[in-house]
Amino acid sequence: MAESAAVEARSVTKTFGVAPDLVRALDDVSVAIEENEFFTLLGPSGCGKTTLLRLIAGLELPNSGDILLAGRSVVHLPPHERPVNTVFQSYALFPHMSVAQNIAFGLEMRGLARDEIARTVGEMLTLVKMQGLDARRPGQLSGGQQQRVALARALANHPKVLLLDEPLSALDLKLRQGMRGELKSLQRRTGITFVFVTHDQEEALTMSDRIAVMDRGRVQQLGTPLDIYERPVNKFVADFIGDTNFLEATALGEEGGFVRCRCAGGFELLVGGIPPAPGATVTVALRPEKIVLHPGGAHGTVTQAVYVGTDTNYVVQLSVKTDLGVRVQNAVDGRARFAVGEHVGIEVPPGAARLLKD
């Protein structure tokens, strides 16, 4: 069974409502999630990521397709018979039970011995650094503490797969950043497969082993954070992850494994991707931080400079219709390197830009 994926969705389709208000939440989605993987479902709200999570948990039934856990179809099992546990977005802690009772709930339902339950609850409280708070009610805890209890309650059952539905979205920024590191190290230590749902690209990029970027009920791209950021396959992925310039360009021909393209403003660049026919009009995705500006060039004019601390974000006008966003690290004394109105030259290292499908 070693080859079986921890979680697998096969051609899963899920619709809500009836025509004409029919919503296709998942449209023929297939994903295989490996054991011990930190796997993220990333996308805007309504993209189907939470629906997929709920299908794995058994809280929804698919219209068609199959859900497998460790190679075994579970699509017809109710949630309480599936060996997965969920951390809900709202935490869903039982308000009438203490922290310890919350953590013990799953163990009691499975009929474990009293002393074993007590021992596991103790371990979990230590794991999430909540010792001494076992008698508190959820209402007496801060958001961050509730988050830890929800995590402990799910992990107490030693699930093979832990499902996390936007668990950090209710926390404030500092706490969220701290919890990212904790979640990641927790996943490494426990060796549990994490399926993590988020709309926050930064969360996805910093924590995941692999990311599935979803939109309109389909997986748009599946890959490592580096793949997704550096080699987006389409306009949606390039646009959703990070900031991107989309440039209309004319393909001139192949050159050293790259495609030479000419953009508005007359500058040429070497683009990575599958070569199109020479003379074709293509869309090129170019990250603002990969562009090098030279003073005194003739490609464009700086029309805006916005100071953002470490960097300055410039808008460089290439032609009447085309603006380019460029992110440049500030000088050591913190001053911006270019001024509004300055004429600049643009240099793009070979392969820094990508050709996109649609």
């Binding site: 948990a57 058994g58 809280l59 109710p78 949630p79 309480h80 018979e81 997965v84 546990n85 969920t86 809900f88 709202s90 869903a92 802690l93 039982f94 308000p95 009438h96 709930f105 799953g106 339902m109 499975r110 309650r153 799910a154 059952n157």
Partner: protein, 270 residues
């Protein structure tokens, strides 16, 4: 300078005070009079002749009152129990299921007794049981009163239970299922404890509605099934004494007790 809040604050509108005091006076002055004269030493209910607890002592020793109170309590407890169980089931069925055809209809039917004039219910119930008796010869005895009370108590029990269910986070039950609880365990360990304040509030309301009912009971009650309100009505026709005031005051106290309990329980853990 005019206070900018004045236009928004009802309490600052001209005439608010007098209207409010008039309403409160009309609501509570009659009850205050009833209450005060239950302690009258004389036989009059409008001529004060000194303080005494005699009428309470007399009421407690009156066998007619004792019997009526016993009937009322039996009916109220049985009707409350049945109505609360049915109302809980109905509230679950109208909130915890996928939307089904006729759901709005069911909601209306459950709450219909609140809108049908009591006298109509009374006469309809009377003829209904009379028909059953003439067709089959079955008589339910005190059961007739209990069944009738159960029916009109259901909406009173249903409303607070439903309100509580609607305010409850659905993901709690999903979390229980996710943590290996069977549907019954999830209900028993999560839904029911969280629903308890709503059920208690509903039961308290049902009890008091049954205990206080006059119109329907008057029509439906058979011989020897005199409830307390029916007894009081009869007593008044024999001549009003402060004894009636004393029983009414006790009824009022029981009502206040239950309604306050219902309110306090309902507010807990909200």
């Amino acid at each position: 300078m005019a206070d900018p809040r004045a236009t928004l604050d009802l309490k600052r509108q001209p005439g608010f005070g007098p209207v409010a005091w008039f309403c409160l006076f009309m609501l509570y002055a009659p009850i205050a009079v009833l209450f005060v004269f239950s302690f009258n030493a004389g036989r009059s209910v409008n001529n004060w002749s000194g303080f005494s607890l005699d009428w309470y002592v007399k009421a407690f020793h009156n066998e007619g009152i004792q019997d009526a109170a016993w009937i009322s309590l039996q009916v109220a407890f049985a009707a409350t129990l049945a109505a609360t169980i049915l109302a809980t089931a109905a509230a679950l069925a109208t909130t915890r299921t996928r939307p089904w055809a006729g759901q709005t209809g069911a909601y209306l039917v459950i709450n219909l007794p609140l809108m049908v004039p009591e006298i109509v219910t009374a006469i309809a119930t009377l003829s209904f049981f009379a028909l059953i008796a003439s067709l089959s010869g079955i008589r339910f005895g005190l059961g007739t009163l209990i069944i009738t009370h159960t029916v009109f108590c259901i909406p009173f029990a249903y409303l607070p239970i439903r309100a509580r269910l609607e305010g409850m986070d659905l993901t709690l039950e999903q979390a229980a299922a996710d943590l290996y609880a069977t549907p019954w365990q999830a209900f028993r360990r999560v839904t029911l404890p969280l629903l308890a304040p709503g059920i208690s509030a509903g039961a308290a309301l049902a009890f008091i509605v049954s205990f206080d009912d006059f119109t329907i009971s008057q029509f439906v009650a058979g011989p020897g099934q005199q409830t307390l309100p029916i007894y009081i009505y009869g007593a008044i026709r024999r001549g009003v004494t402060p004894e009636v005031n004393a029983i009414s005051t006790i009824l009022l106290m029981i009502s206040i007790l239950f309604v306050s309990a219902s309110f306090l329980i309902g507010r807990r853990r909200q």
